[in-house]
């Protein structure tokens, strides 16, 4: 609504709908200029950092899996790699491959959930997936089946689909037989075709005109699309190992959020599917590379609304990669390597569905955790989301406060913020303040 005279307007979202967990937004506009953007995140990983201290290292994978019901594998992968680094352990190739495979499962599941259930309704003009399902039942059914394909693979590898239990330091407590994995082939082949349909579907969505000059940051190994390894690179030329993460990426506390803000050289950066694709497009699997080349010809990766396309391309990649690994899978003789704890510090960064997830552990000679640090991707993207909103809000000031708030929510949802598995009534509150 048009404003006359001096006026402070607050666009406030009490609880952001269709994001994973709890979050709230307050944007203050004065005399037509954005003064403050505060994304408030209620984030429990900090609690887990304290909770892990004094625990035996073997308990860590099960504990960190509880941080998030959507991306437990990511927490487990960063944890086991960091602890293995502290203990000087390298797992053999078959275990390494199985870790890529279980990560594929999580990307499929998590990305399908976001693309279909949480994000697509924004582009098709629905309040949510339930309304969308009434008019787009086939699409929603495709999304649910895609997600279930990821669930089934995760359940096979992890023992169950939520909070998997088979991942441990040194490997797995159990590995699947070749027969078990091959049993999923037909469903994964269906899912691969469905992923191509998904890319074409979301590429056709009309996106708002909006671009930002992002600094992308992601793992970028030489010879494969990243999951668990590789140097961290940025689009500004950074190239570091995970053990140097904290020297370049710094965190600071903000008073309005329990999440710490991360910056790279003092500025915001973007982690997640768009960053991974920007830095690793040449390392995609054949079909995914082809589909991305087709889709990206007409879109800009600098528009955050196109992350739905990036996420869909990663679903296809994860399915191709999973099928490739299943076809060549030979059951390893041993599901894990022996682990002897030693005092030290280990760091690892892996690619969670939403972006880089960094863990650091200090461990004593008995294998007891003395210090834990966890930097989740949503915390890293928080500053970037605020920067987006600062640039975006002027475009929607002509709208009512309610409509402007909803438009801001759509920007936030582009990041698929996994604020945590948490406890909150999904409720939207819009308030307006004048002075």
């Amino acid at each position: 609504m048009p404003q006359k005279g001096k006026r402070t307007r607050t666009i406030s979202i009490g609880t952001i709908a269709r994001v994973e967990g709890e979050g709230a937004l307050r944007v203050t506009v004065k005399d037509g200029e954005v003064r403050d953007v505060e994304l408030r995140i209620f984030e429990p990983p900090r609690y887990f950092e304290a909770f892990l201290v004094g625990r035996h290292f073997a308990e860590v994978p099960d504990i960190v899996a509880r941080i998030c019901g959507i991306c437990p594998v990511a927490y487990q992968m960063s944890a086991v790699h960091a602890l293995e680094q502290a203990f000087g352990i390298r797992v053999p190739a078959p275990i390494r491959d199985l870790r890529r495979l279980i990560y594929c499962a999580e990307w499929i599941e998590s990305h399908a959930l976001h693309v279909y259930m949480l994000h697509a309704p924004d582009f098709l003009g629905y309040d949510g997936a339930i309304d969308m399902a009434k008019d787009h039942r086939d699409a929603v059914a495709r999304g649910l089946r895609l997600k279930r394909a990821g669930n089934r693979l995760l359940a096979l590898l992890g023992g169950r689909s939520v909070h998997p239990v088979s991942v441990k330091v040194g490997g797995f407590s159990r590995v699947p037989t070749r027969h078990e994995l091959l049993g999923l082939t037909d469903e994964l082949l269906w899912a691969r075709d469905a992923a191509i349909e998904t890319i074409q579907w979301v590429t056709g969505f009309e996106k708002p005109e909006f671009r930002q000059d992002y600094t992308f940051a992601a793992l970028a190994p030489e010879d494969e699309y990243p999951f668990n390894e590789g140097p961290i690179r940025s689009s500004q030329g950074l190239q570091i190992e995970a053990c140097d993460f904290e020297q370049h990426f710094t965190e600071r506390q903000v008073p309005y959020s329990t999440a710490l803000h991360s910056t790279l050289n003092g500025a915001s950066y973007l982690a997640g599917p768009a960053a991974r694709l920007h830095l690793n497009a040449s390392r995609l699997s054949p079909l995914a590379k082809h589909e991305w080349e087709e889709a990206s010809a007409g879109l800009s990766i600098l528009n955050p609304f196109n992350t739905i396309v990036a996420r869909s391309v990663e679903i296809l990649f994860a399915l191709e990669e999973a099928l490739r690994m299943i076809q060549s899978y030979e059951m390893p003789r041993s599901s894990s390597v022996p682990v002897t704890p030693r005092a030290g510090v280990g760091m690892a960064c892996t690619e969670a569905p939403r972006g880089m997830l960094y863990h650091r552990y200090a461990v004593d000679e008995q294998g007891t955790i003395r210090e834990a640090k966890i930097i989740p991707p949503t915390s890293q993207n928080q500053r970037r989301i605020e920067d987006d909103l600062r640039a975006f809000v002027p475009q929607v000031l002509n709208l009512s406060t309610k409509e402007a708030a909803l438009a801001c929510e759509r920007v936030i949802r582009c990041y698929d913020p996994c604020i945590s598995c948490a406890t909150h009534f999904l409720r939207l509150e819009v308030c307006e303040a004048t002075t």
Partner: protein, 163 residues
């Protein structure tokens, strides 16, 4: 999946987050019920994403859900809702603990035409959902009664399907 001769299937699903105080109550009720019921009825614990419910309900005729709710009642008390006949109930269960909560999952199943023939929710009024906390006193005290209620519900469902 538990088949009973020619009468369809029953599944009990306890929903919750084991690490968030009273939010674990649905899981705990499920565990107690599994001990009581033995193998005659499948009892499942569902953590995390509510969409898992769609898979867990598929092909099942009679679903009994158990979850933490915050509906304004005394902590530890139980509310029973027949979701098969209730299309608007989200406000009755305002506290969803999951990214897509069970209210959304049920509504989505309804929109997709995938709702079981009968779906009963037992909601336990909760007090607190602090990270890492155990069940609050009133919810712990109410646990046995909930288990008993749901046990009777299962017996009624079995009986109904046998006649």
């Amino acid at each position: 999946m538990t088949k009973r001769a020619g009468v369809g299937t029953i599944r009990v699903i306890g929903v919750g987050n084991a690490w968030r105080g009273d939010d674990a109550v649905g899981l705990q009720v499920a565990r107690h019920l599994r001990e009581r019921l033995g193998p005659s009825v499948e009892v499942v614990e569902a953590e995390g994403d509510g969409l898992v419910l769609l898979d867990l309900m598929e092909g099942i005729d009679h679903v009994i859900l158990i979850d933490a709710v915050k509906g304004g009642g005394q902590p530890g008390t139980t509310v029973r809702l027949d979701l098969s006949v209730r299309s608007r109930w989200g406000t009755v269960v305002p506290c969803s603990t999951h990214a897509i909560g069970i209210a959304d999952a049920i509504d989505l199943a309804r929109a997709m035409g995938r709702l079981p023939k009968q779906i009963i929710l037992y909601g336990i009024e909760i007090e607190s959902v602090d990270s890492g906390a155990s069940l609050s006193e009133p919810v712990r005290e109410g646990l046995d009664a909930v288990v008993e209620h749901v046990h009777q519900e299962v017996e009624r469902a079995q009986c109904m399907k046998c006649t």
